[in-house]
Amino acid sequence: MSTEVTRGTDDRIDQYPDKHVTEGGRAGEELDGYPPVIAPGHSFASVTDKIASLALRKRTPIGWLFAFFIAGSILQLLVLSIAYLLAVGVGVFGNNQPVGWAVPIISFVWWIGIGHAGTLISAILLLFRQSWRTSINRFAEAMTLFAVACAGLYPLLHTGRPWLAYWMFPYPNTMGMWPQFRSPLIWDVFAVSTYASVSALFWFVGLVPDLATFRDKSRHWIPRTLFGLGALGWRGSARHWHRYETAYLLLAGLSTPLVLSVHTIVSFDFAVSIVPGWHATIFPPYFVAGAVYAGFAMVLTLLIPIRVFYGLEDFITMRHIHNCAKVMLATGLIVFYGYIMEAFFAWYSANIYERAMMWNRMAGSYSFFYWSLILCNGIVPQLLWSKRVRENMFALFTIAMFVNVGMWLERFIILITSLYRDFLPSSWGMYMPTIWDLAMFVGTLGFFVVNILLFIRLLPIISIFEMRTLLPEAKVHPEEEHKVIEDKRQERGDTPASGGLLPATGD
C-alpha cells in the first residue's frame, strides 16, 4: 500500500462526521446545581481539534507574543542577577547575621509550595475519582515542573558555589565524605529532586498519548517527527492502554504521599532546629496545606486569564473554578488553624523564648507584615464561603492574588521574625532584602511565565485523551459491557480488575 496518502486535514474531517454527538457531559450532571465538567455538545473530534489547535495553529496570537515579550524581558532580569551573583558572590543578598536565611529561602519555599498543586490535582484527585481534575491536571503538572525549577534555583545559588552542587549527592568522592543524612537540608535535596523527577515522569507519561495525537495532526514534517519521537510510537493499542492505566494509577498512588512529603521536608528545614517559631510540630501539615493553598491560588491566577484568552470555557467550566476555590478555602482554613495553634502554644508553653517570639511577630518591628499575612491568608479568603464570590471571576482572581502575596509573607514572617531577635540582645538585628534579592525573585516570575507560555504554545495544555473519556459516547453500551466483563471474570475467576481510567480507579 502506497504511503503517499494525503494527511487528514480539518476539511476532510467534515466528510466523516461523528455519529454520536453528545448532549451533555455525563460527569457533569450534578445535584447541587454546579455546572458540568465539560460543556455539552462536544464529540471526540471536537475535543481533540479544539485542544490541539491551541498549539498546532500556524499563527502565534499577538497576545501570546506580547506576553512572551514581557515575561522574556523579566527573565533577563533573572539572568542578570544570577550573573552578578556569580561574579560578586552571595554577599549581594541581604542575608547577614542574625538573619542568615532570608529572601532566597523564602522564595524557594514559595515556589515549591506553588509546585504542589500540580501533583495534587493529578494524583490525589485521580485517586479520589474527581473527574474535574481532567481539564486542569496537565496544565497544573506543567506549572509544578516550572515552579520546582524556579525553586531549585534558590538553594543552588544560595550555596554560593552552585557548580559544586553535586556534592550534595552520595557518590564515592575523593574526600571520603558522604552527605549528612541527619540534616533536613539533605532530605530536601532528595525530596526536591525526587519530586522533580517523578513529576516530570508523571507529566511525560500523561503526555504520550496526546503527543501521538499531535504527531498525527501535524502537517509539517519537523513537528511531526519531533512529536513522533516524543510519542515513542504510541498507537493506542488496547494492551498498551491496559498497562498504561495501571502504571498511571500506580504513579498517582506513589505521587500522593510524595507530594505531601516534599513540603513536609521543607518544613523540617525549619522545624527540626530549635529556633523559637520554627521548632513546631505542626509545621509539616501546616506547610503542606499552605503549599496546596498557594498552588491552587496560582492555578486560578493563571487559569482565569488563559481560559478567557483561549476560549476554553467549555473545558474549564465554572465547576472547575468552584472546586479550585473550595480547595483553597479548605486549605486556607488549615493554614489559619496553623497560625492559631502557633500563637496558642507559644502562650501555653510558657516558654519565654516562644512567648517573646510570638509577641515580636505581633507587635515587633515586622508586625505590619504579620497582620498583612493574617489579612491576606486568613481573612480575605473567608469570602470564598460565599457562592456568589466563587462565581465572580474578578473577585476570585483578586483573592488568588491576595493568597499569592500572603503565602510569600507567611514565609517571610516565619523566617525573619524568628531570626532577627536572636537569643542574646547583643545579636539582635534587622533585615532588609537588597535590590538583588528582589530582582532574582521577580526574575524567576519571568522564567516561570516564559515556560508556561512556551508550554501553551507547543504542547497540549489539556489532557486530550482523558477529556475524551469524559464524553458520554466513550461508554460502551451496557449490555456489551456487562457481557464482556462478566464472561472474562468468570473465565479467570478473579475479582474485578482495574477499570477505565476515570470510571473505576482503585487504590
Binding site: T174, M175, G176, L232
Partner: protein, 219 residues
C-alpha cells in the same frame, strides 16, 4: 499517511536509550577515575626547582638526616624549608664553584631567599601539623615516600582527603617505632598490625573517632 519513521528507527531508538544510559554511567565512572588520577592529583610528577637539589644525593648518598635541613619538623606544624645559610654550611667549600649552585650563591650574596616550588601543598582549609605526626610514630616516608630514591621530589600520594582518612581511620597500619621515623627505607614488618596497635597505645594515638572528626584537620 501516518507512517513517519523508517523501520530502522525501532532498533535505533532502543539502541540510543541503551547507549545513552551506558554513556551516562561511563561518564560518571570516568570522572571518578580522572579525579583520582595522577594527572589530577599531581602525584608522581617531578617538580622542577630553581636549584637542582637532590634528596637522593644528600639524604641517600651522604646520609644527612632529614632534620639537618628541616629543623622544625619535630616542634612545629611546618617541617621548615632550610634558609640559604644551611646550604652554605657545606657549599662554601664543596662545589663552591659549581654553576649548578649559582642560584644558591646568588641568594647568599643578595640575601634574597631562593623561591622553592612547593610540592606538597595541602589546601588552605586543612590544618596539618608535622610535629604531632612524627611524635606519634608516623614516619616521613609514609607520606613523602622514600626520599632516597627521589632526585627531584614528587608527591607519592594523592593528598586527597580520602588518602588522609586511610591512615586516620586505621593508624595501626602505618605506625612505626620512633627511632625509625626518619628512616626513609623503612618497611612495615609482617606483623605490622599487631605492632601498630601496640605503638598506637604506647604513643597515646587518639581513637579513629577523634582522628576522623572534622575539627581534627579543619579548624
Amino acid at each position: 499517511m501516518p507512517q513517519i519513521f523508517h523501520r530502522s528507527t525501532n532498533a535505533l531508538s532502543k539502541l540510543s536509550i541503551v547507549v545513552g544510559a551506558l554513556l551516562a554511567v561511563g561518564a560518571i565512572f570516568t570522572l571518578l577515575v580522572l579525579d583520582r588520577s595522577n594527572y589530577n592529583t599531581g602525584a608522581f610528577v617531578d617538580v622542577q626547582q630553581p636549584v637542582q637539589f637532590s634528596h637522593k644525593h644528600h639524604n641517600g648518598d651522604i646520609g644527612i638526616d632529614c632534620r639537618y635541613c628541616h629543623t622544625a619538623v619535630e616542634v612545629s606544624s611546618s617541617a621548615g624549608i632550610p634558609p640559604t645559610a644551611t646550604c652554605m654550611n657545606c657549599h662554601t667549600q664543596i662545589w663552591a664553584d659549581s654553576p649548578y649552585l649559582e642560584p644558591v650563591r646568588e641568594s647568599w650574596r643578595t640575601r634574597q631567599p631562593i623561591q622553592w616550588v612547593r610540592v606538597h601543598d595541602l589546601p588552605d582549609f586543612v590544618y596539618f601539623n608535622h610535629s604531632v605526626h612524627v611524635a606519634k610514630g608516623v614516619g616521613c616516608s609514609t607520606c613523602h615516600g622514600n626520599m632516597i630514591q627521589q632526585p627531584l621530589v614528587h608527591q607519592v600520594a594523592s593528598l586527597k582527603m580520602e588518602w588522609c582518612l586511610e591512615c586516620h581511620r586505621q593508624p595501626e597500619l602505618f605506625l612505626r617505632p620512633k627511632d625509625q621515623i626518619y628512616n626513609a627505607e623503612w618497611q612495615p614488618p609482617s606483623n605490622q598490625e599487631e605492632v601498630g596497635l601496640r605503638l598506637k597505645k604506647q604513643y597515646n594515638v587518639m581513637t579513629a573517632e577523634v582522628l576522623t572528626s572534622c575539627s581534627t584537620c579543619h579548624r
